[in-house]
Subunit: 237 residues, 2 copies
């Protein structure tokens, strides 16, 4: 199993309103939690961090993904009375059931690629905090080699729209998947780079792309993680 | 800034007693939190997950690293009356102060490499939960290109000891650092592989290696993360 993330801020903002974190599940496996708070900058960050922290805390206690999403939604609605909302995606790799469970409260679709097919999960889905009793959409996939799942925030779906040149996620995915077995990082980077280009190198929103890929077992038993965190120089504008 | 992790379980155990998680700091930057619970397997995992979750929750609220470590220690001592202990390392990249802050409650040393020097931070340090009022050791470094920090659990320090062939971390680091600008993942993988070899491919303990490296700014503004999670096959022994 390989997981890759690529993330940039909206142009000229120092802080992303998107928050993404990874947590180990108490019964094995891990969950990736991605939230996009309304608006951008500091306020959005506070909301998305609050949502991710709450969801991660519940998952770590063994709460099921759907229940964690509902709890985070109720808490946000109670606190902000529907005035502030946040999208949420949870992708959980469950080593006991040998499945990937996707939980979505996000109008942005999720793409699922397997056996030369690209499917789009685009059922209507409501962000957290919009009302009482917001339901997440939950989809489960067997951990089969070749499965690729692509999740993103609306910085991808809305890229280029202002300039009348909207993003065709499916076409970009297809062009990368034609390569021999692209890495999840290549997929994430290519989608993000394409979106940034459509926004003429000044992203109109925070953008986060998350790719999960199941590959045939090769190599050792070592778990690995790498993180790259660009640090703004004082001399940069 | 690049961060790499390599992690394996003790031989013939399905669960690592080491827990490592990464959390975004509320004022920018991130913290990596690593705990090693006493013994191995399920019980150790419960302890190290509890410690990491508590520390991460506090850091996310803006609590300082040292205070978070003390709080986790007090909670563990209160709950288990000193019968169960856990090591803790926190490495925080603070983008405001432009420093890396290391917090240590772990007898295993930390290595710091800069300007062709390898220094070992090996002041005596007590694990969490041993008594009331356990103090963490805190060390701070400016974010200068070339700085490399290596943190690990005692699976590294004790590798090979049973067979009278103990690990010389400093020598292994020196041999890798002689290469032109090794990636943090290469450093982590090499240390881990060396320890596993000294244990004759049957690690006597869970092993986790965390490497942080500050490089000169090159490339784009994209934050990236990759995770590799080996999945045990049904057919494997």
């Amino acid at each position: 199993m390989q997981i890759a993330v690529a993330k940039v801020n909206k142009y000229a903002t120092s802080e992303s309103g998107d928050t993404l974190e990874v947590v180990e599940r108490p019964n094995g496996g891990l969950s990736v939690v991605l939230a996009d708070g309304q608006t951008s900058g500091r306020g959005a960050k506070t909301i998305s961090q609050m949502v991710v922290r709450r969801v991660i805390g519940l998952l770590a206690e063994g709460v099921r993904d759907g229940a964690a999403a509902r709890a985070a939604s109720d808490a946000l609605f109670t606190e902000r009375q529907g005035k502030v909302i946040s999208t949420l995606n949870i992708a959980s790799v469950d080593l006991h059931s040998r499945t990937i469970v996707l939980t979505r409260n996000n109008p942005a679709p999720v793409f699922v690629c397997a056996n030369d097919r690209i499917d789009m999960l685009s059922e209507e889905s409501i962000p957290l905090g919009t009302s009482r009793n917001v339901r997440p959409l939950i989809t489960e996939f067997a951990l089969e080699p070749g499965l690729v799942i692509i999740i993103f925030t609306d910085g991808i779906s809305h890229a280029g729209e202002r300039r009348g040149n909207p993003m065709n996620v499916s076409a970009v995915l297809r062009s990368v998947l034609e390569d021999q077995d692209p890495s999840p990082q290549l997929l994430a980077d290519t989608l993000l780079a394409h979106a940034v280009r459509l926004d003429e190198n000044r992203p109109a929103d925070d953008i986060s792309v998350l790719v999960l890929k199941v590959t045939s077992r090769t190599g050792d038993n070592v778990r690995r993680m790498t993180v790259r965190l660009p640090i703004e120089g004082h001399s940069r504008i």
